[in-house]
Amino acid sequence: MSKRWIIALKVLLHALCLAPIAHLAWRFFYAQDTFGADPTNYITHFTGNWALSMLMYCLAITPVRRLSTRLGWLIRFRRMLGLYAFFYATLHLITYIWLFSGFNVASMIDDIQKRWFIMVGLFGWLVLLLLALTSPTWALRKMGGRRWQLLHRSIYLAAMAGVIHYWLLVKAGVRSPMPFTLVLGGLLLARIAWSLWNGRKKRAKLRSAAVSTQTA
């Protein structure tokens, strides 16, 4: 993939990732009734859903890339998708602080102390914050590849926190978090299957290498 193509695709991807929030803003100015009777609730779900969606797209990059060696270029969009997940998660948090709690510090502290779904959601956001802060290339260089990679695997923790957060807040019997749960489950399975398969391949390679040195 040429550099020019990468740039063009990045511009396209930025546009796609910003489309939901642009759409929301457009509707705020031109079609307010589409927010329904309780826009607070609507905007909360909207930003939360997009944060989770972006996380899933981001996590899907690696398994899809492994399908073929020719898909290696996909990795160049992973950071961007992760940062957009953080962007929508932050909008989600702002919605909670501003529209939901009305900047009422006492009620927010009460929420954090008493309510699991708030705690789990906040934990997920903090993980994303940490990953966003360490996302620049210089941070990777400073930390060293191995440590950086270890830290950035915690994106799975953030995704799990996001999905658990969703399940904790819906009423019993409501299954709207199910699609995200299934997708995340599939992505985790793909990850585990890959490392098992890869591990066996590596061991086999080592074994054959050992055999060849013995015979030599």
């Binding site: 307010q32 009734d33 927010f35 329904g36 009777a37 309780d38 826009p39 607070t40 609730n41 529209l99 709690s101 009305g102 009422n104 009620s107 009460d110 929420d111 008493k114 309510r115 699991w116 779904f117 904790l168 807040l169 009423k171 019993a172 019997g173 409501v174 299954r175 709207s176």
Partner: protein, 329 residues
């Protein structure tokens, strides 16, 4: 004869009532032979109606205006929630679990003919027709605050009369300690019916709660018959309790000796108590009940403090004297 534009003519006027009811009944049991039996005029009008030739809003306005008198216990000094918000933001899970679903899906509910059966511990069980129920007492307009357990609230002008009027007309036996309300259930008319719930929707009240003058047997809102998504053609409104206590589209009222099963209480007893009185001091396990988002004419709802018994303490608090409201939430 004065010739009017089609959308000025309410369908109830051009379709002979008998044919119309026959048509509704045939739809209910899934027969499709109504065209053969119906008079040409009636069938033509129905076909036009089904093809959407009459503007639906005009039809609704023309056909379903209620005669009301000003009611006692009306809440004054609060801004009403606009009609379009009351009718597009509903928890009526039989028509889908999203709050915008009922407004989209509930048109499949057939509300005529409709009967309510009075069962259980009464002198004489009976079945009442919706039109006779409508005529039983004068319909009062009552503005009530409506507080959902999800921490949003509205102010709604309901139309109905006290449930106690109907109960008195039913002669319950002294052994009747509770009243159970069962909602309509029909898979054909409720294609979005979600699994995992023990349908039909069931709610209940203690006898004194049911007899409280605030408890309203409700037929309309904003002076019009209830839209389907708001629980047509007949529902209960209990303004000092969380909204889910107020059963919609009631088909059975049963007088019982023991506390009846209620749907949300069965699903999550730690979250939804039998009483479910609005109480800012008792949090829902997953969120605070101290505040509510009041849905009004503005774009964003206002965050306001929630009042004990939703502000109806003067009328209802005495019923719970000596009860631990944290235990019996």
């Amino acid at each position: 004869m004065l010739i009017r534009k089609p959308n000025d003519i309410p369908s109830s006027e051009i379709t002979p009532k008998k044919d119309y009811e026959e048509f509704q009944r045939s739809r209910r049991i899934g027969r499709r032979s109504f065209l053969a039996g119906a008079a040409t005029l009636g069938a033509g009008a129905l076909a036009a109606e089904r093809m959407g030739l009459f503007s639906p809003t005009q039809e609704v306005h023309a056909a379903t205006r209620l005669q009301t008198v000003p009611g006692k216990f009306t809440t004054t000094g609060e801004t009403l929630t606009p009609y379009n918000k009351v009718t597009t933001y509903n928890n009526f899970y039989e028509f889908g679990t999203d709050k915008s679903d009922p407004a989209r899906n509930a048109h499949t509910l057939i509300t005529r003919p409709w009967t309510v059966s009075i069962e259980g511990l009464v002198k004489q069980p009976k079945t009442l027709d919706i039109d006779s129920l409508l005529k039983l007492r004068p319909i009062e307009e009552r503005v009530y605050r409506h507080r959902c357990v999800e921490a949003w609230s509205m102010v709604i002008p309901w139309d109905g009369y006290p449930l106690s009027e109907l109960i008195n007309a039913c002669d319950p036996l002294p052994s009747a300690k509770y009243v159970q309300f069962l909602s309509f259930l029909n898979n054909k008319e409720m294609p979005e019916l979600p699994g995992g719930y023990d349908w039909p929707y069931s709610e209940g009240l203690r006898m004194d709660e049911a007899m409280n003058p605030l408890t309203l047997l409700t037929f309309g809102l904003y002076g019009e018959e209830l839209p389907n998504q708001d629980g047509a053609p007949i529902r209960i409104v209990i303004p000092w309790k969380y909204g889910f206590k107020s059963g919609k589209s009631i088909v059975k009222i049963r007088f019982v000796a023991k506390q009846p099963r209620t749907l949300w209480n069965e699903i999550a007893p730690n979250e939804y108590g039998f009483y479910s009185n609005v109480n800012p001091a008792v949090d829902h396990p997953r969120w605070s009940q101290a505040h509510e988002r009041r849905i009004g004419p503005g774009f964003l709802p206002k965050i306001i403090p929630t009042q004990p018994f939703n502000g109806y303490g003067d009328q209802v608090a005495s019923m719970y004297n000596g009860m631990n409201l944290k235990k019996y939430f």
